[in-house]
């Protein structure tokens, strides 16, 4: 079992590096702008319920999910817009879901915390902390039992680590050697509770205790996250069982829109902003002559347009008919 601490490393995929980096940059910008505008839509009352923004953590979703193949499966927690976008689900369908409309991913039945998309092998959006982790084991088990070349990645937060389901899931996946990537977004807090009051050991070491190879990575570095996820995927594909990634990250905004942020200093947020994943990749790409300032501005403009279009789409989408209230509780059986 190896435990290593990775920082930024070159990407290994066959795609030309500059194209790949540009895609990372575009997706991170898209997620950030999507989240900023979603926050505005919440203030306007267009988006309701609990809303958890992903701003600051973009490198986690983009770096890891870009390493997955279409046949791989993804299941995540409620802070899920970033994962959905990185998985290629159209932002307009996600926005329509946040607006509660018929063109939303769940036709308005799920909301922000419950984004699902079967076609993208996106198994939710789960709002019970830790509750989706055993489901990931089962998805992995099913692939293994059917001899499918498919890996299931499960994303969760540091708060979930204190739940029993984290431990049951790691134990089961290790015992049964299921093809599972456990991807921890360690943003230092579960709501207002700092990690030190939540988990008694460093988290990647808990995975080691279950004999799962475990890596801690800088979650503000999209390239590093991508590289370790590729490695994890390879490991899972060879039938060696699960792999654990702890990505150290930070959320700039409150836990949800209803957070007075009494538990942290503004200066702490500022400190992390200096390591901003978007700024960091941009700086590197400029320095390595992969883009120019003008290219960057064009990306920003494209993203602005795409998000504006998503909002328009969502706003124009119809409210679900009241006659559809009961639709989808049960799937109809072929033979009645």
């Amino acid at each position: 079992m190896k435990t290593e601490t990775l920082t930024s490393a070159p990407a290994t995929s066959s795609e030309p590096k500059d194209e790949q980096f540009e895609r990372f940059l575009y997706q991170m910008l898209l997620i950030r702008r999507f989240e900023e505008r979603t926050g505005e839509m919440y203030t306007k009352g267009k988006v309701r319920g609990f809303l958890h923004l992903y701003i600051g953590e973009e490198a986690c979703a983009v770096g890891s999910i870009s390493a997955l193949r279409p046949q791989d499966k993804l299941i995540t927690h409620y802070r899920d817009h970033g994962h959905a976008i990185a998985r290629g689900i159209a932002p307009q369908r996600i926005m329509a879901e946040l607006f509660g409309r018929v063109d939303g991913t769940s036709k308005g039945r799920g909301g922000s915390m419950h984004i699902f998309d079967k076609q993208a092998n996106f198994y939710g959006g789960h709002a019970i902390v830790g509750g989706h982790m055993p489901v990931a084991v089962g998805l992995g088990l099913a692939a293994k039992m059917q001899g499918q070349d498919s890996v299931t990645m499960c994303v969760f937060g540091d708060g979930g680590v204190a739940e029993g389901e984290f431990h049951e899931s790691l134990n089961l996946s290790s015992l049964w050697k299921t093809p599972n990537i456990w991807f921890l977004e360690n943003n230092g807090y579960g709501m207002g509770l700092p990690l030190a009051k939540s988990v008694a050991n460093e988290i990647y070491r808990l995975a080691e205790a279950y004999r799962i190879p475990s890596v801690r990575v800088d979650g503000m570095d999209v390239v590093g996250v991508h590289e370790v996820t590729e490695k994890a995927l390879e490991h899972c594909r060879t039938g060696e069982g699960p792999y654990f990634i702890e990505a150290m990250t930070y959320r700039y905004r409150g836990h949800s829109m209803a957070d007075a942020e009494l538990y942290r200093q503004k200066s702490e947020v500022e400190e992390f902003r200096k390591r901003d994943p978007i700024e960091r990749l941009k700086a590197r790409m400029l320095q390595e002559d992969m883009i120019t300032d003008r290219d960057y501005d064009e990306l920003v403009a494209r993203v602005e347009e795409e998000v504006a279009q998503a909002i328009q789409f969502a706003d124009a989408s119809a409210q679900p008919g009241l006659d559809t209230l009961y639709d989808g509780i049960y799937k109809e059986n072929a033979n009645g």
Binding site: G104, S106, Y123, G138, A142, E165, E168, I329, K331
Partner: protein, 325 residues
């Protein structure tokens, strides 16, 4: 037809479904090497191997969730929860994942899982090991709840459960495993969900039970006939969700009286729901308020006499009928 115990009927249903559909597999605590706590799965691991009959750690949340994930991943899992009492430890998986995946995803996903559990009191196992929770599970939209009272129904309903696209909570009263009955051996013997069975026709009162309480209802009907010359119609609900209220209402319109028998606690129990539905649909036909004969409102005591007093008996049913005449 062959006479067999309910445990063997369940065993045969599992075996036949595994032979019919290679996606079917079983998971649970001690279902393999040990043969199952109630011996339902005995021999199946030897026949189908440790992958399709998987012994799991004692981790109810983990294995229920893994079953749900496996169902989403294209398989047809059966998860055995040793007894219904332990389902509390994993109930979030059933309620928040199994029952809601379809609705929350706008119908994109469905969870074809069968969750079997033994239930009921009467064996002096004390308060933690004697729950009857059929009604609690029936509370949740998105689940189907099946609770057979005899060997033939157990087989036909369990086979039917594996052909459902939705999560099925399959509850087996532990006291019934050894009871015998005639069971069809046709591998396509299925019993539809949502169809109550009228076990005995009668004219003076309708006595309704499910799972174990069907037997108190049958014995009470016999006592009523022998001692009071009263004719009771006995209905076995077989599934609580979907609920065959139609058969119940038709019967009550004929007998004008209804008694519900259940092991579960009376307060907020399934009998309260059923009683309300009868009242809503057949109020004008009722000659007396619907009566409930339920478990007493106490954690189950260990002492034999106390436990007996806490559970509904056929005498309680007779008393309830006489009180409404």
């Amino acid at each position: 037809m062959a006479e067999m115990r309910m445990r063997d009927a369940l065993h045969d249903a599992l075996r036949e479904e595994m032979l019919r559909d290679e996606r079917v597999f079983l998971m649970g605590e001690d279902i393999g090497g040990y043969g199952g706590s109630y011996a339902v799965t005995r021999g199946l691991q030897t026949e189908f191997g440790p992958e399709r009959v998987r012994d799991t750690p004692i981790a109810e949340s983990g294995i229920l969730g893994a079953g749900i994930g496996a169902a989403l991943g294209g398989l047809r899992p059966m998860v055995e929860i040793m007894t219904i009492n332990f389902s509390f430890v994993g109930i979030d998986q059933i309620i928040n994942n199994a029952s809601k995946f379809s609705y929350m995803s706008g119908g994109q996903f469905n969870v074809p899982i069968v969750i079997r559990m033994a239930s009921g009191g009467g064996s002096q196992l004390g308060a933690t090991h004697s729950h009857s929770l059929e009604g609690m599970y029936a509370h949740f939209p998105g689940l189907k709840v099946v609770c057979p009272s005899n060997a033939a129904d157990a087989k036909g309903l369990l086979k039917r459960a594996f052909r459902d696209e939705n999560p099925v909570i399959f509850i087996e009263h532990a006291a019934l495993y050894g009871t015998k009955g005639e069971v069809p051996d046709d591998p396509d013997f299925l019993i539809e969900f949502g169809k109550a069975s009228v076990l005995q026709e009668g004219t003076d009162v309708t006595v309704i039970g499910y799972s174990g309480s069907v037997h108190q209802a049958i014995r009470a009907a016999k006592l009523l006939e022998e001692q009071e010359e009263l004719s009771a119609e006995v209905i076995d609900l077989r599934t609580l969700r979907p609920l065959d209220i139609e058969t119940v209402v038709q019967s009550v319109k004929k007998t004008n009286r209804a008694v519900i028998v259940e092991d579960d606690w009376r307060f907020g129990g399934f009998g309260a729901e059923l009683s309300a539905q009868i009242m809503e649909r057949a109020f004008d036909w009722l000659d007396a308020p619907v009566a409930r004969v339920s478990g007493k409102d106490v954690p189950m005591p260990y002492n034999r006499n106390l436990e007996f007093a806490a559970l509904p008996s056929e005498e309680d049913v007779v008393e309830a009928v006489l009180a409404m005449l």
